[in-house]
């Protein structure tokens, strides 16, 4: 025992290195173990407050473009207002609809931090626990899917972008209905790959790719992008499809967080399946 202590004391430099290194790797692995809100991410209060004050200054630079966008959206909304329609219907009966229940709710959020050039990209949004945001909620923008909420603090959340090695979404060829897994290969922020698409799928360049009903985080039929090229790799029995993503990740400013009302129920049911299989 005494010898051991002397040995460690003599080589304290090396052991201190090992200790710190193990701690760092532990942090890495703990984070990979999906959704363990850690202290070391940009939703902690110090870094998020630095980010939001930095962003406050930065938005001034794109104010003109944002105004234009909002003006366009206002015009579009105004044209949909009741006052801009002529009402021909005769209201006889008001139905409190019980057949259709609201399934998805959308909450707008502002992107306060974003990256596209790393292998694993994240966004930070200015919504958190206080606004009812939970992990695993999907995030979409007006141009396509953005990512999945990963960590949540009181007023901020971080989002695992589509441009992340662990982000996999089930994508469907809109015209044909066949689906496969879409993931990002880390090279170009505008392109992702679908694998496992059956070979009898009727594909053509420019086909629209949307989310399928299999993914829990996103609603069905949200735009992902368009088919750019496709082929069968030697030795495989399914299509590999290059998709041009429709989301403009470098321009994201306002996004929508998706709340799925039946998620808990659906997840619980599907989890039950999994545990059955294991037994």
């Amino acid at each position: 025992m005494r010898n051991l202590v002397i040995f460690i004391y003599k080589n304290y430099f090396f052991f201190l290195f090992l200790l710190l290194e193990f701690f760092a790797v532990y942090l890495v692995s703990k984070n990979n173990y999906y959704h363990r809100a850690g202290f070391v991410n940009s939703s902690n209060s110090l870094v998020s407050s630095i980010y939001s004050s930095y962003d406050n200054a930065r938005v001034y630079l794109s104010l003109k473009e944002t105004n234009l966008l909002l003006a366009k959206e206002n015009a579009a909304l105004r044209s949909k207002m009741m006052s801009s329609y002529m009402d021909f219907t005769v209201k006889t009966l008001k139905v409190n609809d019980t057949a259709f229940k609201q399934q998805y709710e959308f909450e707008e959020a502002k992107v306060v931090n974003n990256s596209t050039n790393r292998r694993n990209n994240y966004l930070t949004l200015n919504r958190g626990k206080n606004q009812g945001i939970e992990t695993d909620m999907g995030v979409i923008s007006s141009t396509g899917i953005v990512g999945v909420v990963e960590h949540v603090s009181d007023n901020f959340c971080t989002v695992m972008s589509v441009l992340h090695k662990d982000h996999v979404v089930n994508a469907k060829i809109k015209k044909d209905g066949n689906y496969g897994a879409l993931s990002w290969d880390g090279v170009d922020y505008q392109r992702a790959t679908i694998t496992g698409l059956p070979t009898h799928t009727k594909l053509a360049k420019g086909d629209t790719v949307v989310t399928s009903a299999l993914t829990v985080s996103y609603p069905e039929n949200i735009l992902i992008g368009t088919v750019e090229s496709f082929g069968i790799k030697s030795g495989e029995t399914s299509f590999t499809v290059k998709v041009k993503l429709s989301t403009e990740f470098k321009k994201l400013e306002y996004v929508y967080i998706v709340r799925y009302a039946y998620k808990a129920e659906r997840k619980k049911l599907e989890e039950a399946n999994k545990t059955d299989k294991n037994n």
């Binding site: 710190l20 760092a24 692995s29 070391v40 990256s115 292998r119 880390g186």
Partner: protein, 173 residues
């Protein structure tokens, strides 16, 4: 002595903020992600105790991780770099050893010494960082290209910053 400590603290804060707020937002390509914050570890004095350098390396890494949302990745790489620094300094030491007045800068030690010192350590840091971040070998060559190009970019920034900010003071210094 005390003013030296303040100088290092100020450099720490400044480099972390530059890294987290400016460098992070420069989108050159997925291949070029410079991490010039390692300059803080590079410029620690020669006589700083080895354990302190290790701990500072860890803290620096964690601080950058907070901005990058990559818990532990930069911390691990930076600790590794601080560990290697001990041996690289020994490897590159002049024949008479380091003198008390020497600083690990380009003016004090000369360009060849500084570029090999910074180059080796930056390459080690980036190798560790990018491979730990990707954590799979299927993208081996893509990652290798990222490591090499990013290391060059970081080295360039580090050397330029030496010429810009670390000029020797007037003769009496």
């Amino acid at each position: 002595m005390l003013s030296d400590i303040f100088k290092h603290i100020a450099r720490f804060i400044l480099l972390i903020l530059i890294q987290g707020l400016i460098i992070k937002n420069i989108d050159l390509s997925t291949y070029v992600n410079p991490f010039p914050y390692v300059l803080f570890i590079l410029l620690l004095p020669f006589d700083a105790p080895a354990w302190l350098v290790l701990i500072l390396g860890f803290i620096t890494g964690i601080a950058v991780d907070m901005f990058y949302n990559t818990p532990g990745v930069n911390a691990a790489a930076c600790t590794f770099m601080a560990f290697s620094r001990h041996y690289i300094l020994r490897l590159l030491s002049p024949r008479e050893g380091y003198e008390f007045t020497m600083q690990p800068g380009i003016y004090s030690m000369g360009s060849p010494w500084f570029i090999s010192y910074a180059g080796i350590l930056i390459l080690m840091h980036h190798l560790f960082l990018f491979y730990l971040e990707v954590f799979r070998f299927s993208e081996f060559f893509h990652t290798l290209a990222t490591v090499i190009l990013s290391s060059l970019a970081t080295l360039l920034l580090v050397v330029v910053s030496q010429f810009l900010f670390n000029r020797p003071k007037a003769q009496n210094a």
